[in-house]
Symmetry: C2
Subunit: 237 residues, 2 copies
């Protein structure tokens, strides 16, 4: 709460904080759809859909800039402290992570266009779709912990990242095997390495969001610490 408020400005300020939270969730939903559609387009060789994803990236960027701007205005006008300040900081950071996931969707869209004339390696595409589903599940869950400000749930979402990493590693191994089998596979396989990497990074960004949730609720910055020490901090009274 700001240090000097009338009931009116207090309600207005509360609405502003609520608003940035809601806008982060909306941005998260948009980014999630962008990735899901980009992967659909890739798997189905759907160039039109890929172009649509690319053309919609500006919406993600616009949300990045405008939520950031709203946060700066809240800092300037409301001068939040304690939990309110941590919320604003967490929003600023979450938006940066979401924007990077959005870049990944655009990138997958461009890859789809480049690969559209090629034969579709069904096997790898199946693995890519599964990696995407897992990573997007993590993203959704991390935003859900953000909406509910639930550090306990944030812990268990962060713990899922090893599974996303394992799926990514297995795609990487498969792609390298294809490359070794036939040099004609090399150029498309390298393209798919980038796709797999973009999807694997979603898990990392979801972990970051979980860390901000713990920071927001517990007041401790748990970035660059192990899952074990995150657990300890969450369970501290």
């Amino acid at each position: 709460m700001p240090h000097s408020t009338t009931p009116h400005t207090y309600r207005q300020y509360d609405k502003e904080l609520e608003d940035i939270r809601n806008r982060v969730l909306a941005m998260g939903g948009l980014v999630e759809r962008q990735i899901a559609e980009a992967v659909d387009a890739l798997v189905n060789g759907d160039v039109e859909k890929a172009e649509e994803v690319i053309s919609k990236d500006y919406r993600v960027n616009a949300m990045d800039v405008s939520i950031d701007e709203e946060c700066t205005q809240i800092l300037a006008r409301r001068q939040p402290t304690a939990g309110d300040l941590r919320l604003v900081m967490a929003v600023i950071k979450t938006v940066a992570d979401l924007e990077r996931i959005g870049d990944g969707a655009e990138r997958i869209g461009r890859t789809t266009i480049r690969l559209s004339e090629r034969e579709r390696p069904a096997n790898t595409f199946g693995l890519i779709r599964s990696l995407s589903n897992h990573a997007l599940g993590m993203l959704r869950d991390s935003l859900d912990t953000f909406a509910r400000m639930d550090p306990e749930a944030a812990l268990s979402v962060a713990a899922q990242d090893t599974q996303v990493d394992a799926r990514y590693e297995s795609i990487l191994r498969q792609l390298i095997t294809y490359m070794m089998e036939d040099p004609r596979n090399i150029s498309w396989a390298v393209e798919l390495i980038w796709v797999a990497r973009a999807l694997e990074r979603i898990g990392d960004h979801a972990c970051n969001i979980c860390e901000y949730v713990i920071y927001l609720v517990k007041g401790k910055d748990v970035r660059h610490t192990s899952l074990e020490s995150m657990e300890q901090i969450v369970h501290e009274e």
Copy 2:
């Protein structure tokens, strides 16, 4: 300036703002050395040096957390507005970019250890060193524009990114050629693709820093805009 200050607290506040600026520059210097040493270790197959780089990444992370913490405290206690607030925001964002560059150094260190038993592809290593020099030059220049708060210089640093990208693309093409020539080249070439990518990303982070400098001085968020519109904003009175 905060809204109510005595000369004493004003001087103290000024010192705090000066301090976060200096700490960003120190962190930039550390990250730059980490990348330079990681690339040296890679090119010379120096496992010991690579291990040193990996072991020093915690210092980058510690600076990330502590500068962020100092910024949050300034926001809470000083309630900065206008240019001071933009400085704090720019510092928060710059630190996040520097931390990511630092991760790249650690990654290159790990690659060096994995590749240490291999024959060294001198040709590619020459290109990688040249990419590294260019990207680090951009990083240094971007931090310099930050130190001098010089949006004009920030523009010309950002314009260099196309050269870094071109060098990266040529490494990528060379590595793909090696892979096609001999499947035994594939696994190390894939490792070097990641190295090249980490170095290319330094150019992107340097561009981001330049954008924050323009934001800081001009008060306009120029992310996700073209170089042309950045120029327009810098030259507006």
